[in-house]
């Protein structure tokens, strides 16, 4: 008990003293996840809105694929991208392995199906009269999508936040593709794994607490948005 409470006290000390190394890792982690969330959202949200509003051949297959990808282990994404980005891989010449960009790509791929699925749900669960009303008022396809996105903005924002929350807690792909390089690709989750294995439990705990705090803030924002939406 003494070990755990001493470590917890030391972890709090690191947090309130604004330990430079700890916050460097937090900034790296948040910025990587934020960029990944933005990239994924810019593709997944329009794709989700399009899919929800249109009927086309293969829609069911895409839906099944998205559901499957949502459950895909992150380490598999890490493995596949490692094969692509490693020096001998087809994209090896881009020198992306062990860079933040590689982690961003992996996290964006990881959260894309989650965001797209949630965007589909956001549009399909909107009032059934929304689209016919907008069509009758003269909305053309692009204006129609913009208006639908505007009307379902809270649910769509919730999809983006959920994606961000998933990205920041990701460890498998970040470890394999980032290499856990200090000050460069070391994220909160990879740092926790490393520090704990090195026996520096208080540093891992401090990062764990900050990760929990971020998760709490993300969830708080989500529930606030859901309240606003309903």
């Amino acid at each position: 008990m003494g070990y755990f409470s001493d470590s917890l006290a030391a972890a709090f000390q690191l947090i309130i003293s604004f330990d430079k190394d700890i916050y460097q890792i937090v900034i790296t982690s948040v910025s990587i996840s934020f960029i990944a969330a933005l990239i994924a959202a810019s593709l997944a949200i329009p794709a989700g809105i399009y899919m929800a509003m249109n009927q086309f051949a293969g829609k069911q297959i895409i839906q099944h694929l998205l559901n499957s990808l949502m459950a895909m282990p992150t380490v598999v994404i890490g493995l596949l991208l490692y094969g692509l980005f490693s020096r001998l891989g087809p994209l090896g010449h881009l020198d992306l392995l062990y860079t933040p960009t590689a982690i961003i790509i992996a996290e964006a791929i990881l959260i894309f199906p989650i965001m797209m699925n949630l965007a589909i749900v956001a549009v399909t669960s909107a009032d059934q009269r929304l689209v016919p009303t907008l069509i009758s008022l003269g909305a053309k396809p692009i204006a129609l999508s913009i208006q639908v996105a505007k009307h379902t903005r809270f649910a769509i924002l919730a999809a983006i936040i959920t994606g961000f929350g998933r990205a920041i807690g990701e460890v498998g792909a970040a470890m394999m593709l980032g290499g856990n390089i200090e000050g460069f690709t070391r994220t909160m989750t990879t740092a926790i794994a490393l520090q704990t294995s090195k026996g520096e439990f208080e540093t891992g705990l401090a990062l764990g607490l900050l990760l929990l705090l971020i998760a709490f803030i993300v969830n708080f924002m989500l529930s606030w948005l859901q309240r606003s939406y309903s």
């Binding site: 009269r129 929304l130 016919p132 907008l134 069509i135 009758s136 003269g138 909305a139 208006q147």
Partner: protein, 329 residues
């Protein structure tokens, strides 16, 4: 080009069921037209087609003399104002909703204020321009939706069940709005209602829908059943017809063709039924009777006949009509 719409070989299916089947229909221009029919008759489906919100599974629709394709051109879309049975207003104020319609229709921004003012004045809703659409009552919401639909000055106004869920005062207001709009030069109003008497009172002409098919019958005294050997069985009554059809599912009897008497008439008329008077009402100078003979019949008589026959609610009376008075379809 005297028709606002020309429909040819229209078919709409919901799953396996054909919910609309219109071989040919022409809706005149500059008229107020009522689509009459019971719930599920296909009125909303037809209005959705006329508003070009849904496509028919088969057939062609011409709008103001031009074949219309999905999606409509901006010019064609501007011709149509549509208000659904349960109108949906987007987040924001009444004015925001109207401004959005003007924006989507590509109306010059300089004209927005003027059009907004005109539309709100037409529906007597100027005082609620800045009110949130979420806080409107049912009647206000319908009027706001009409203002939004007429703001871009369409040639055709489509209203789906505009009087449903409205109290008498709101219903009266809406009648005035429809009459005001349809009296404007070049305007066509097409509205659906299950209230046949109101539809006939308000409209220049009516279109009757039964199970997705148009009929010329007045749809009063409409009964469903089966036809066998010129006799239509409603399940409660056998009604003689002159129909040559082998199968039919509906009949309608013009209420003015029904003869009322206090004793059974001995005449060449083939249909005689005894019933109980359930309603006597005055309507536009005539007397409307409702008689329960196992099926509920509506008959129209003059005020003089009412006093001559000395009819009372609950009293036993006879009604008779010729087999030629029965429309079978």
């Amino acid at each position: 080009m005297n028709s606002s719409y020309q429909l040819r070989n229209i078919k709409v299916h919901h799953g396996q069921q054909c919910v609309l089947d219109i071989p040919e229909l022409s809706l005149p221009k500059n008229k107020c037209i009522a689509l009459l029919g019971n719930n599920g008759a296909g009125k909303s489906t037809l209005l959705d087609l006329l508003a070009f919100i849904t496509k028919p599974d088969q057939g062609q629709i011409s709008l103001q003399g031009q074949t219309a394709q999905f999606p409509l051109s901006r010019k064609q879309r501007q011709m149509i104002g549509y208000v659904s049975q349960h109108p949906f207003l987007l987040t924001g104020s009444v004015a925001d909703n109207i401004a959005l319609a003007l924006h989507l229709q590509g109306i010059n921004r300089k004209q927005h204020q003027k059009r907004l003012k005109q539309a709100l004045e037409l529906v007597n809703l100027s005082h609620l321009a800045q009110q949130s659409a979420r806080t409107l009552s049912g009647g206000e919401l319908k009027r706001a939706a009409i203002a939004r639909a007429v703001a871009y000055q369409p040639d055709i106004l489509l209203l789906d069940e505009p009087f449903s869920h409205l109290d008498q005062s709101h219903s009266q207001q809406l009648e005035d709005i429809i009459q005001q709009f349809s009296s404007q030069a070049g305007m066509t109003v097409i509205f659906s209602t299950h209230d046949r008497l109101k539809g006939r009172a308000l409209a220049d002409s009516t279109i009757n829908l039964v199970s997705g098919k148009t009929t010329k019958s007045p749809l009063l005294n409409l009964f469903h059943g089966t036809l066998h050997d010129h006799v239509f069985d409603t399940g409660h009554l056998q009604i003689h017809t002159t129909s040559q059809l082998k199968t039919a599912r509906h009949i309608a009897i013009d209420p003015s063709e029904i003869i009322i008497s206090t004793e059974e008439l001995h005449s060449s008329m083939q249909n005689h039924f005894m019933g109980r008077m359930t309603l006597i009402a005055e309507e536009s100078g005539t007397i409307r009777l409702t008689i329960d003979c196992g099926e509920r019949f509506h008959a129209i008589i003059s005020p003089k006949s009412l006093s001559d026959l000395n009819l009372t609610i609950g009293g036993t009376i006879w009604l008779s009509f010729k087999s030629t008075a029965v429309s079978v379809f």
